[in-house]
Symmetry: C2
Subunit: 252 residues, 2 copies
């Protein structure tokens, strides 16, 4: 502790704890000394210790459990979401990309869907190449693996494309909505995915059961017909600590 360095005390404490964590002094899953012990160790007040721990929590390094202690967060298991899951071959036998992906990893996947119809706002209209206000079919999905929510997905299609098809039903049948579109003569030409990241809203954090300091990855996928017409857009929200996305392409 250097009180004359100009660095706030709570940041010095946080830096020291962080060092000990990465150095392995506190192993993954291990409990840190209690706040009151840290008060004695560092010679600062409890709010200062709490400020330091809050910093580490915002960085996603530790979790605090009331009545128990503060623990070093263990490294998280990694899922993969490969774009090859969207191939027609993969669609032939299963219910869709997510179900296939999860099942392949030994998870028990499940998903609940809510369907609604609404006029397209400006963003949706722009991405789907339609007039704002045009009716779109919205499939709002919550995906779970072993009961744990792992992904939110909001899919939107021009209603014109879905009227009278099972895409407006909860169960879209084998291969999912993409398979139904192709059967209806809308062969998919290419996909575009737009990937970003941000901190979750409180609602997202609780829905996805996110620990503190964990961002979400946002993916917007658009599926285009072979003539370039946008068929579907899909806004996905993924917990960043449970997913990595893999993309692969040939050099040109």
């Amino acid at each position: 502790m250097d009180r004359s360095s100009g660095v706030p005390a709570f940041r010095q404490v946080a830096a020291d704890l962080r060092e000990r964590i990465v150095a392995g002094e506190y192993e993954p899953g291990a409990r840190l000394p209690s706040e009151r012990e840290l008060v004695d160790n560092y010679g600062v007040s409890r709010p200062t210790i709490r400020d330091a721990i809050d910093l580490l929590r915002a960085e996603g390094r530790v979790d605090a459990v009331r009545g128990v202690g503060v623990f070093v967060r263990p490294p998280t298991q990694i899922e993969r979401l490969a774009r090859s899951r969207l191939s027609r071959a993969a669609r032939a036998e299963n219910k869709g990309a997510f179900m296939a992906d999860a099942a392949a990893k030994g998870f028990t996947p499940s998903s609940s869907v809510k369907i609604r119809f609404e006029p397209a706002d400006e963003r949706v209209a722009g991405l789907l190449g339609i007039e704002p206000g045009t009716e779109v079919t919205v499939r709002d999905r919550v995906m779970r693996a072993n009961g744990l929510v792992v992904q939110l997905a909001v899919s939107r299609l021009p209603r014109e494309l879905t009227r009278g098809t099972v895409i407006e039903e909860v169960d879209t049948g084998p291969g999912g909505a993409y398979a139904r579109l192709e059967e209806a003569g809308h062969a998919i030409g290419h996909y575009v995915e737009d990937v970003g990241s941000r901190m979750p809203s409180p609602e997202e954090a609780s829905t996805l059961q996110l620990a503190e300091g964990v961002p979400v990855i946002t993916v917007t996928r658009i599926a285009y017909r072979q003539d370039g017409l946008p068929l579907e857009m899909n806004d996905m929200t993924l917990p960043a600590d449970r997913y990595r996305l893999t993309y692969e392409w040939a050099a040109e």
Copy 2:
């Protein structure tokens, strides 16, 4: 303020401020009432107000400036990093993917490189398909646009592939390291990118001049020779508020 709801006061204050922000009552760039004013408005103590504001800062919604006030963070401008920048055609005329990308947007790109040689650790060895301990060439780059740091990139190649080439020099010449590899007979077959996200370390936050509550996007790209041999791996770190990644592929 409902003191009997069980919801902590600072969360109620944060929720109320958040609502007003998304409702537009406090416009982007606008100043929130000072902490002491909020103390009067909500009838709670200042640390409670500060806890609420800290929450909004961790969410990336507001920025605090000492001596001035707390401001609603304006929506961030968006860059794009397209994979098509890696095509041979694009390499023909310029110095590399990043330089081309930035120049195309009217930025003045610059980058500083540090080169070193080190034995491969387990992860690097695994990804490059070599034995741990094998010497690799490391190109550690800091990329800037108009002086602002916008990307960190650590590129590693088996030293065997770079010995005697300008890849071990600061300036790799037109088209960058990939062009030199191809000239040396290592035609690139395909690329794989692995995308994730997390909160930055304090060092990353200061190097990338990140505001609070802004995650980083991590991309690990591996370039493979046409026979499948890994040629290069590149660990990139991007500020999530300044980048979105775009991937595009044909349906199969």
